[in-house]
Symmetry: none
Subunit: 230 residues, 2 copies
C-alpha cells in the first residue's frame, strides 16, 4: 500500500502509545520552548521526526500536548489553591475559597444596598464622576471631604478649583451624607479613570519630566479591608 507520496497507517490492535524517553524529552523541550498548541503541520513534522525513536502517530503528539497543557494548568492551580487555603483560615475543601469568592461576588445584595449617584461637570473642562456609590442609609453613612492637591497640568487649560457634591436620596438615619471633592485642577487634562469609586489624577508630562499617577480610591468598609489599616 505504500506506493507513493502518501503513507497510510492503521493503528495496530489496542495498546496505547508509550513515549520513549527520547520522544518524551523532545516533546517537553518543545513545550518549554513555546510550542504549546502545535498546528496540524507542526504535529505532522514532530511526528515524523520523533518516529526516529519509536512508534508514534500524530494523534499521540496531539493528545500529548493537550494533556500536558491541561496538567500544567492543573498543577499550577493546585499549588496556588493550597497556598490560598493556608493563608485563609482553616478551609476544608480546596475549591471553597474560590466558590465563596464567586458567590459573594455574584450575590448582588451582599454589599448592603448601594446607591448610585451621577455627577457631571458643565464647564469646558468637563469631567464626569459617574456611579459614585456610597453606602445605604441602613448602614451609617459618612462624610468624606478630601482635598487632593494636583501637580500642574501641562495642558493649556487653567488650573482651577472645582467642587462637586452629592447627597443620597433618603435621609432619616443618614447623618450628613455629603460627598465633596475639591480639585485644584480639572481631571480631564490627560485622562480620568472611573468605574464607580476611583478617580485617578493624570500623570503629568511636562517637557521631559514625568510625574507619577496619584489615585484616590473610595470603597465600602468591610472587615476584610481593615488589615493593616486600623
Amino acid at each position: 500500500m505504500i506506493n507513493n507520496q502518501l503513507l497510510l497507517l492503521c493503528s495496530p490492535r489496542s495498546s496505547r502509545w508509550n513515549p520513549t524517553p527520547e520522544q518524551l524529552l523532545a516533546l517537553e523541550e518543545l513545550y518549554r520552548r513555546g510550542i504549546k498548541t502545535p498546528t496540524a503541520q507542526q504535529i505532522r513534522q514532530v511526528t515524523a521526526l520523533l518516529r526516529h525513536f519509536g512508534k508514534i502517530e500524530g494523534k499521540n503528539v496531539f493528545y500529548w500536548f493537550q494533556n500536558h497543557r491541561a496538567r500544567e494548568r492543573q498543577k499550577r492551580r493546585r499549588e496556588l489553591m493550597s497556598s490560598m487555603s493556608q493563608s485563609h483560615s482553616n478551609e476544608q475543601r480546596q475549591q471553597s475559597w474560590t466558590n465563596n469568592l464567586i458567590s459573594s461576588i455574584q450575590n448582588k445584595e451582599s454589599a448592603g444596598g448601594l446607591r448610585n449617584l451621577s455627577l457631571e461637570g458643565e464647564q469646558q473642562n468637563k469631567w464626569t464622576l459617574s456611579n459614585c456609590t456610597i453606602l445605604s442609609d441602613q448602614e451609617s453613612s459618612s462624610v468624606l471631604q478630601e482635598r487632593m492637591s494636583m501637580v500642574e497640568s501641562n495642558s493649556s487649560k487653567q488650573p482651577g478649583v472645582q467642587s462637586y457634591s452629592a447627597t443620597p436620596t433618603s435621609q432619616p438615619p443618614c447623618a450628613n451624607p455629603t460627598v465633596t471633592l475639591i480639585y485644584t485642577t480639572p481631571l480631564d487634562c490627560h485622562h480620568y479613570y472611573d468605574y464607580g469609586m476611583v478617580l485617578t489624577a493624570p500623570h503629568i508630562c511636562k517637557g521631559e519630566e514625568t510625574r507619577e499617577t496619584r489615585t484616590l480610591e473610595l470603597f465600602p468598609l468591610e472587615s476584610d479591608n481593615l488589615n493593616g489599616f486600623l
Copy 2:
C-alpha cells in the same frame, strides 16, 4: 481619615502593581467562571477579598480585566490569522538536535508546499474531511485508495459505503492526483477527530462489549517517515 464606613486610600507613589500568584489565580478563575467585565460593585468586592494576599487597589482589578479581555481577543485573532497565512523565512541556527527540531517545525515551508482540500458529504449521515493535505505538484503526487473496514456501529444508522474523491487544482507534473476514501460505515456515529490529517473511527460499545478504536492516518511522505516501512 477612617472615620466611618468609607475607606480612603491614596496610592503610594511607588511602582506599579504586581499581582501575587494567589491574586492572579483568583482573577483568572473569576474570568473563567464568567466575570468578564465586572461591575463596580464586583470590583470592590474582589479587591477587598484579594487584599488578603497582598497590596491591591480597585483600579488594578479593573485594568486586569480590561487587559485580559483584550489579550484573549488578541490571542484568538492571532491564532486565527496564523492558521490562515503561511509564510516565513528560514532559520539557520542549528545548535542541537532540539534546535533543529524546533526550527524545522517553525519553518512553515519545510513541509513542501501543502495544498488543502476540503470534502464534504451530503447525505444525512454527513461527515466532513477538512484540510486533507496532499503534496504539491512539485513533488510527485499520488493516488491513495484505501478501503477501511469498520466495525458495526451501535447507532441506528445503516452502515453503507460512501466514497469521496478530490483532485488538486493544478495538474501538469501531477500524474493522477486523486484521493479516494471509501468507508463502509459513516464516521459520525460517535465522533470524528480531525486536525488536518487524522480521522478516527469511533470505538463501538454494543451492549457490554467494547471494541477498540481504529485510526486511519494520512500524512505527507518525508524521508524521515520511511524508517522501517520501505
